[in-house]
Symmetry: C2
Subunit: 323 residues, 2 copies
């Protein structure tokens, strides 16, 4: 890691060390293709299926790297975090594998399936209101009470190094790519992707995909500095959080473009993926495909890696069915 | 093929020839495992994922074998069939690949997604009432009008030989199994499984799984002769059809047992598979898992192949969500 402007920036060596550290605890997820979506988009798409990942999402990569990198002394006090969902259950999973306590602050509106999974892995939940302000306030209390090591869901060099292992595998599993596209919320996956690709495949363009209704990263990218929303509203519940200094470092230096999609476009892409690929993906992971289908000229004829970030869905409330 | 009591019985050589013939037109589908379902059942389960198959179901194996085995002269007249869904679209897919006409009779209550898919592959649909009696009457008219080669959805030696290729792959993809379980409707998949396993792995027990509300195969098996229902009612819409002489031949000679599950048990197993394995499966394919979870003593400690037969689901009407 290197120290730049008061930030600890993870390096290629940190990503490689993370991959060795977490391999016993994660799946090397498959890369699927779909002749249907290739025909529809005009591009050649390679879906890196982190919905099949342990704990159901890519976030287990960064969380496991943080948990298994702790000294024995630090590990004894456990870990804590705040998260809109998948980081919470990934950290609970990793802490459970190491046998240490895990305390998480989750918005009370988080999907029930995710809350159940956190508790299933042995994590302890404290609920907050669904806003950044509330989450940070409640978390400060929990951290003070428990003394656990804070593993931020994305603005943490250990987490970013862990997420970077995903695109390393994707490059190994495909025969060269022109672009990689992933959703952007706080920017952890995109930052890990930037860390890895800027070192091992700098010719690959990196595109971030974001909901129109939570487009703080898009507006930040255009403005040249971080712009945060408080309490944005989108079906893509994993993407409501803002960029922070470390993820902004990677986004501002390495991302080629940020594209956005409407709620209807996201829901349509999600449903179509379930129907045609027979896989369960979260609304957040449908954002990249939605942007591909509305910007076909950008992707036509290209070999595009698409990171399917997770599959933890509340099956009782699907967005295309009115209950 | 050998002629027994006025039936043409497919042989091991027919299955092997079918596999060569259809390989360019099908996927070698993956076998997935789930630590969650292994823990829940006490068995070691190997899911053969025909939901990822071309046209979304195993039926494309038998349909392709029939279509691509036709002489040029016979092929010119096209093919025709009646089917509750997946055979209709599989035959349409195969006929489309060969460039010949395909006429199918489908119950008017078949899922809209399946009707759309048949038409998408170029098939022509004639609707009937949702009963065996109506289907056979309407089909006789269609066949007389078109003169196409009748490819029965299951009681056809070409179809059974094609379905048998699935368990051949399953045995190649696993390191030995104690049992294979598959759903039973008309008995095409089970018959193909019997054909293959009785020849290449006779030590493997074959279990059929059936909805309680369409349990004609279970009652036939116990009685020792075919008992048919007219118009049974179950969420597992692929399993409403009765056994016929050829499939009864295989079921009565090679199946170890038939287990049944209630509608609620089937729906719960279907939803749990979507939630935990992140794959889209039809209600019909959830019947084997439902019977495993209610008969744990039968399967505990065993290596069990589970054939996931298809993934063509009407996403707008999921059985656990009241619309």
């Amino acid at each position: 890691m290197k120290d730049v402007a008061d930030m600890i920036i993870p390096t290629l060596d940190d990503m490689l060390a993370a991959h060795e550290r977490i391999k016993p605890h994660i799946h090397r997820t498959p890369v699927l293709t779909s002749s249907y979506f290739n025909d529809l988009s005009g591009a050649e798409l390679f879906f890196k299926c982190e919905n099949f990942q342990k704990a159901g999402a890519f976030k287990v990569r960064g969380a496991s790297n943080a948990v298994f990198g702790l000294s024995e002394e630090d590990a004894d006090k456990g870990v804590c975090t705040h998260s809109s969902g998948n980081h919470a259950l990934s950290l609970s999973y990793a802490a459970g594998r190491r046998g240490i306590p895990c305390n998480v602050v989750m918005p009370r509106t988080a999907p029930q399936a995710k809350k159940d999974a956190v508790r299933g892995y042995g994590g302890t939940i404290t609920e907050c209101e669904p806003s950044t302000t509330s989450r940070e306030a409640v978390f400060a209390e929990v951290q003070a009470a428990t003394g656990g090591n804070f593993v931020h869901p994305y603005n943490d060099p250990r987490v970013i190094a862990g997420q970077g292992t995903c695109s390393r595998e994707l490059m190994e599993q495909t025969d060269g790519l022109d672009m990689v596209i992933a959703p952007i919320g706080g920017g952890g996956m995109i930052s890990g992707t930037c860390l890895t690709l800027s070192n091992i495949a700098p010719e690959v363009k990196i595109i971030a995909a974001e909901p129109e209704q939570a487009d703080d990263a898009y507006r930040s990218f255009k403005a040249g500095h971080i712009i945060a929303d408080d309490a944005p509203n989108t079906i893509a519940d994993g993407l409501k959080v803002p960029l922070k200094d470390l993820t902004w470092h990677f986004v501002s230096n390495h991302v080629t473009d940020i594209l956005t999609a409407s709620e209807d476009e996201i829901i349509a892409a999600m449903k179509l993926t379930w129907q045609r690929m027979k896989i369960v993906i979260e609304a957040s992971c449908a954002v990249p495909l939605a942007t591909i289908l509305k910007n076909k000229d950008t992707f036509a004829g290209k070999r595009v890696g698409v990171i399917i970030t997770g599959g933890n869905v509340d099956m009782d409330t699907l967005p295309w069915i009115k209950g």
